[in-house]
Amino acid sequence: MAGEIFNPNPIVFSPTKVSGRNSDLLAQSLWINDSDESEDEAEGIDAIDQDEIFDLIRSIYDPEHPNTLEELRVVSAPQVSVGNNHVTVEFTPTVPHCGMSTLIGLSIRVRLLRSLPNRFKVDIYVKPGSHQSEHAVNKQLNDKERVAAALENPVLLDTVEQCLVNAGLRGQAPPV
């Protein structure tokens, strides 16, 4: 990345919990070492929930650092909410003057665009009060035309792809 680095030395948090969801404990079988195959074939619908969406975005890299958005607490599970065909993601830039906020938001937007069924409407916001040009960033991120135009720009798209390169890890450690 050419140019100014907005936050050269951000705080890195230890990951809170490995990927998994609270409901799993209750769904656990009575029997030890039960194969999960039978469960897989079982009927029933798993709804798309907060944890699943957080899993999709937690391993996106920060454009400035070799850290994930989860490690920098830019995103967290409680900042994701899922309604009926409606998803809201809130994220927290590491510093209020962070010029990368739009890029972070765009990466989240692209990831969800590719990974969620299109019945969902996705809104992405900067956490209120965490950024000096909050309004502008929010407007940019939720304007369909502007997002589409940004993705037409090959350099920008390439930067976004770089941020998404390990997004599939979903909070797991990268392979050595």
């Binding site: 030395n9 890195v12 029997w31 650092h65 070799p66 299109n118």
Partner: protein, 1037 residues
């Protein structure tokens, strides 16, 4: 002589190889000498015609090349040398002359005097820039050969040689030549006095740094970038005089270069700095450090960072290694190490920030340098972090501080175990032990910093001679307290890892302190069905016990405690413990039994000798409990009749029995037979449960209740692992097997019973095949036609018979027995039988699949490569059948057989046939059977490993595969989750293994179809859909 002249004339006219060969043979026979040939060539060699001169010299060189070494004496070598040197100044003859020289210089008769002549003429006449690569290569080869055989002569030339060589080698560009040139240069730099030529040598070598050459595709010369890089590095670090000139070049390349250049530069520096010496390292330390620092704090990639750290270590070592002994105390460390340390400690004032990580990595790198620097570094870093941890303002950063501190502990441990552990010195950490231990124990108590603290503690425990036994006990005590807390679940894996590494050092501590705690936290009654938290807790305790109790003393305690608990759960003594819902209790008992079994399994695989003794301590109690439960008609005692529990008990019995020596097996199995066939249970069953006197164990009687019949599993379990020499206590083995087989087909009631008996039959057939020829003949000639190839039987009965057949066939197949093929042939015969065609087809594959019965642990007779032999025998037949469109039924059956076979054999057994199998497998994807489909896709997934776009096996079928996978991953068309997941995985791999130009037409279709799968009802399917879709989004040529 005349014939020689004739040959020369013919050659000059025609230029054929025959004349060369003939001349050589004349020389070999002693008829002519090489000098004669020169004379015969006379007129041509001095001819005015350029072409004639060239051909003349060429002929001589060609003859020389094939001439036997013995025919060239010192005299002729000298004459020829002089001759060739004379031809070097002629532009027409230089090429053949060099070819001649390259042969001459290798000869034993070639002298140092000749060497001087040659090298001087080379320097004088050869203009490298005018020659093509191959000729220049000849020149380098000549110099290289002279360097190898006549170095003294070259050394004697001194300056002249170096000057000459510099002129010769300057401006060389071809990688093939450079590899030789670098080798020559390295010798010059090391052995010659270059003091007056440092700069010119520097110029002709450093101009190549860094190597940017990349071999062309299908490189015909076989020279890699690394070959060149390493050859050049051998020159860069060959002479300390390069130092002052080289450092600025390296620094420039490091700041301006690409990733590979950076890495190359760092590696080159690491190899050069020790050669260039400590004085230079000291004077340039600041500049170097600033450059390295940048690569560590703002790394371009992880690999470069690692290289930068290594090079920093080399720098520190180079500077401080020699003053090591003169240092009075570690405080005397001055210069780079001190400055860099202070710089990093400054950064560590904010341990939670991202820069703290690289700063720690630098300091940890310092720990593996000279002893005084490592002591100094630790004395700066560790107290600093401890102080920070204890500062109440920094409570929020505690996890981060512990992470960094753990890094130091681990680095100090590794440095100590690698270096000074042998010489009885103290661990580096000894001075800080108390405070560090204290800090970690505080961190352990807090759930937010627990995992980080465990990491540090395991570093401390792993350092030899650091903690005293009391201190280890104190650590265990603290861990126990944490384990008792409810919120320790997240850290339980780390806790167990630490405890098991402690039990390797001090098992007593774990046995006395931890185990009682774990045992007492196991409930006496099972938690009710909805108590998921309690259940998760006992799962956790049991898995902890499983992990900790493999050692003999600990295992003994485990067996005593868990069997007692098992009796209590399965046969409750108090009336009120009789629960309505018995399944949770059965599941708890199952978990207890499973824990013993899986710990036994670990022990068996680690070869522990104490397993055998449990035949007397554990098996009687197990038999007692299960026989009692089946016989007692006690409504309180029906928990242990659950088939799932019986199955685990069987596994346990097999594990213990397989460890017994042959004699012991024989006497034991006699008791087991007596119990199960005659009802005399005394010898095998002994324990707390009093089996009623009037109840008799008779599982093989037709009227026996299900609970008794299930016990045949415990009978088979003791027979499966017998050595092949063990005699079974039956009058006639074949008759016994017939009785078992009949029982399994007629009287058995469920899968557990049937399979137990089939396993028993398979095991006996495998080991005793020579004693049961009649039994096997009867099966082939009678049993098959009555029980299987008999349309009057019910389909269900025929299916059972086929399963029994599969097990008998397996038993023969694994030992590659001659009659195995007769058994498999029978299966093919029924391909046309509509009712069982799929069953026999699948059986073709199942007979080759691995299982847990016929294993070497169970002393089965197994020949190597049996699966390969089987595949070679049946695969051609299946493939022919699958291609034969005239018989549709058999064609389908062959396809089914193929998919089943491929699923059950290792990839290596069919890989060579893969290209012809793929079209058939693709047809298998259309079969209306989800299991087959997922097997086929799994096979494709296995094949995809090691496949690449350059030579993909599936490229030509890409279109069919894409469409089939897309169809199989959509929930409305494919109800099976397993198939959908497999299809998505394969769809996600395709872009990696098929060339872009073939696959890209499907990109938009796939992306569109996958967007529907993103809404699959199953979370696991959605995850695969997201990953597959991402792979296709990234697919851009």
């Amino acid at each position: 002589m005349e014939s020689t002249e004739r040959l020369v004339r013919t050659w000059m006219a025609l230029g054929r190889d025959e004349e060369v060969v003939e001349t050589v043979s004349e020389i070999s026979q002693g008829g002519v000498s090489l000098v004669d040939i020169v004379k015969a060539l006379g007129e041509y060699l001095t001819s005015e015609d350029d072409e004639l001169r060239r051909k003349g010299v060429e002929f001589l060189s060609k003859v020389l090349a094939q001439c036997p070494v013995g025919k060239l004496n010192r005299q002729s070598a000298r004459v020829l040398t002089a001759f060739y040197c004379g031809k070097l100044d002629d532009i027409e003859t230089i090429i053949p002359a060099l070819k001649g020289l390259v042969i001459l210089v290798r000869l034993p008769s070639f002298t140092s005097l000749d060497a001087t002549t040659v090298i001087q003429s080379l320097f004088c006449h050869v203009k490298m820039k005018a020659l093509v690569q191959s000729v220049r290569f000849t020149v380098y080869t000549i110099v290289d050969t002279l360097m190898a055989h006549h170095r003294d002569a070259l050394l004697a030339l001194g300056k002249d040689f170096i000057n000459g060589y510099i002129n010769l080698a300057e401006g060389e560009k071809d990688p093939r030549n450079l590899v030789v040139a670098f080798a020559i240069a390295r010798v010059i730099l090391i052995e010659f006095d270059i003091s007056e030529h440092v700069e010119s040598m520097f110029n002709i070598i450093f101009c190549y740094f860094p190597i940017t050459f990349r071999p062309p595709p299908n490189d015909p010369y076989g020279i890699s970038t690394d070959d060149l890089r390493l050859a050049l590095r051998g020159c860069l670090n060959a002479n300390p005089a390069f130092g002052p000139l080289a450092i600025p070049v390296f620094l420039e390349k490091l700041t301006a270069g690409s990733r590979t250049t950076k890495r190359d530069t760092l590696q080159a520096l690491a190899s050069c700095l020790p050669v260039y010496g400590s004085a230079l390292a000291r004077s340039t330390a600041r500049k170097l450090w600033n450059a390295f620092k940048l690569e560590i704090f703002q790394p371009t990639d992880a690999e470069t960072e690692v290289e930068a750290l290594k090079t920093t270590q080399v720098l520190v070592n180079t500077i401080y290694a020699e003053q090591e002994n003169s240092l009075e105390s570690d405080e005397d460390i001055q210069g780079l190490a001190r400055d860099a340390c202070e710089e990093c400690i400054q950064i560590l004032r904010e341990p939670e920030k991202s820069q703290a990580k690289p700063a720690t990595r630098i300091l940890c790198a310092f720990i593996t340098t000279t002893p005084s620097v490592s002591r100094y570094t630790l004395s700066q870093a560790v107290p600093h972090l401890v102080k920070l941890f204890l500062n109440p303002d920094e409570i929020l950063s505690r996890p981060a501080i512990l992470v960094l501190l753990s890094d130091f502990i681990v680095a100090a441990r590794d440095s100590f175990t690698r270096g000074s552990v042998m010489d009885n010195s103290e661990p580096l950490l000894l001075p800080y032990k108390d405070e560090v231990l204290g800090v970690f124990l505080v961190g352990l108590k807090n759930s937010s910093s627990r995992i980080q603290a465990l990491e540090g503690l395991s570093g401390l425990i792993g350092t030899p001679r650091l903690l005293s036994d009391e201190e280890v006990g104190f650590v265990v005590h603290n861990i126990n307290e944490v384990m008792a807390e409810d919120d320790s679940a997240d850290a339980s894996d780390s806790i167990l890892d630490l405890l098991s590494s402690i039990s390797a050092i001090s098992p007593r501590r774990v046995e006395e302190q931890t185990l009682p705690l774990l045992f007492s936290s196991l409930p006496d009654t099972s938690p009710p069905r909805d108590a998921a938290v309690e259940r998760a807790k006992y799962f956790r305790v049991l898995s902890a016990l499983n992990k900790l109790c493999a050692q003999p003393e600990l295992f003994e305690t485990l067996v005593v405690r868990l069997t007692t608990k098992l009796d209590l759960i399965c046969v409750p003594t108090l009336e009120e413990n009789l629960e309505v819902d018995l399944e949770p209790a059965a599941a708890y008992a199952h978990a207890l039994l499973k824990t013993i079994t899986s710990t036994l399994f670990t022990k068996v695989h680690q070869g522990h000798p104490d397993v055998a003794k449990y035949v007397d301590r554990l098996l009687p109690r197990v038999y007692n409990l299960f026989i009692y439960s089946a016989l007692a008609h006690n409504p309180k005692a029906i928990i242990a009749t659950d088939p799932r529990l019986v199955k685990v008990a069987g596994e346990l019995i097999t594990l213990v029995t397989q460890s017994l020596p042959q004699q012991k097996q024989e006497s034991y199995v006699a008791c087991v037979f007596d119990a199960f066939l005659n009802g005399n249970i005394k010898a095998v069953s002994e324990g707390h449960q009093k089996v009623p006197i009037n109840a008799k164990l008779c599982p093989f009687e037709n009227s026996a209740p299900t609970s008794q019949k299930n016990l045949v599993n415990l009978f088979a379990a003791a027979v499966i692992p017998l050595h092949k020499e063990v005699k079974l206590p039956v009058p006639e083995l074949g008759q016994f097997l017939d009785m078992m087989l009949n029982w399994s087909l007629v009287h058995s009631e469920n899968e557990l019973q049937r399979e137990s008996i089939w396993h028993l039959i398979a095991s006996i057939v495998n080991k005793r095949v020579d004693d049961i020829a009649d039994f096997l003949n009867d099966k082939l000639n009678v049993f098959w036609s009555i029980e299987i190839a008999n349309a009057e039987r019910s389909t269900e009965a025929r299916r059972f018979a086929i399963s029994a057949w599969i097990w008998m066939t397996k038993a023969l197949l694994v030992r590659s027995h001659a009659s195995a093929s007769a058994f498999t042939d029978k299966l093919f015969e029924c391909f046309g039988d509509a009712n069982i065609t799929w069953d026999v087809a699948k059986a073709i594959g199942e007979v080759a699949s691995g299982d847990s019965v016929l294993t070497k642990y169970n002393h089965a007779v197994i020949r190597i490569l049996y699966a390969q032999k089987y595949v070679n025998a049946v695969l051609p037949r299946i493939v022919t059948g699958a291609k034969n469109a005239s018989n549709e039924k058999e064609q389908t059956a062959s396809l089914v057989a193929l998919t089943a076979l491929i699923k059950s054999i290792p990839k290596a057994a069919y890989a060579y046939e893969m290209s012809s199998l793929i079209p058939l497998l693709i047809r298998g994807l259309d079969l209306p059977d989800n299991n087959i489909r997922s097997n086929v896709i799994d096979t494709f997934l296995t094949t995809a490993e090691g496949d690449s776009p350059d030579k993909s096996l599936v490229a030509e079928h890409a279109s069919t595969l894409v469409h089939s996978m897309v169809k199989n991953c959509v929930v409305v068309e494919m109800p099976s989750t397993r198939v959908r997941i497999a299809a998505l995985r394969y769809l996600g791999i395709l872009p990696r293994i098929v060339r872009y130009d073939i696959l890209h037409p499907y990109k938009s279709t796939v992306l569109r179809e996958l967007s529907k799968v993103l809404d699959d009802p199953k979370r696991s399917v959605r995850k695969e859909a997201v990953d597959a879709r991402t792979a296709w989004f990234k697919y851009n040529g």
